[in-house]
């Protein structure tokens, strides 16, 4: 059970191997990557930063909560910081559980909590040369009628 930040490229294979366990028939790996489009604008890259000590604390808490809620000791959460290119993995979450329903639930819980709580920020770089901090709360408000 582990949550960590890194400036190196994420290695999903290694994270998956880390949670694997002979008692767990279901492994789920979630990988979030930098998309080429957001809100209709062409994205060329992304810059991630964090309140690092707090982000690692929250990620560790989320891994522990996820394990407790869904009944597994096999949860790893990693988030990358720094300058990422299109398609690069920004977050990877691996979960193993004896049963797949719980494995899916745990994986989903961990990423939703991460997106709500972990103090990480990203600045998108656009094709027109501008860049902007991504504010999910603002995007959400714009969607409301």
């Amino acid at each position: 059970m582990r949550g960590a930040l890194t400036r190196e490229p994420l290695d999903p294979q290694r994270i998956l191997a880390e949670v694997a366990d002979a008692a767990c028939g279901a492994l789920i790996l979630f990988v979030g990557t930098v998309r080429d489009m957001n809100d209709g604008r062409a994205v060329t890259g992304m810059e991630y930063s964090a309140y690092e000590a707090m982000a690692e604390r929250e990620m560790t808490l989320i891994a522990a909560e996820t394990g407790e809620r869904f009944g597994t000791a096999h949860v790893v959460i990693e988030h990358r910081l720094g300058a990422l290119a299109l398609g690069d993995a920004s977050v990877a979450i691996a979960v193993a559980h004896p049963h797949r329903a719980e494995a899916y639930g745990a994986s989903r819980y961990a990423i939703e909590q991460l997106k709500q709580r972990v103090p990480v920020w990203k600045r998108e770089h656009y094709a027109d040369g501008t860049r902007e901090w991504v504010d999910p709360t603002r995007a959400h408000q714009e969607v409301l009628p």
Partner: protein
Amino acid sequence: MDITALLFASYADVLGRDRVQLALAPDATVADALAQILALPGGEQLPPQPLVAVNLAYARRDHRLRAGDEIAVIPPVAGG
């Protein structure tokens, strides 16, 4: 008491710095610290009640601060 407040991302941009030194009364709360930060040049661009963390954990506005606390103003998070 002296407290250092950390600023991040868009909040650091609009305030033009990534930390600010606050002089607070001994019984000051998170709300008192925020009032000083929002009064800084650029502070009007922050929301009226931004999220705050004290010692690496989210804290309520009425949370009482102590000398040596690390306080941070947290812009909308955007991980993943």
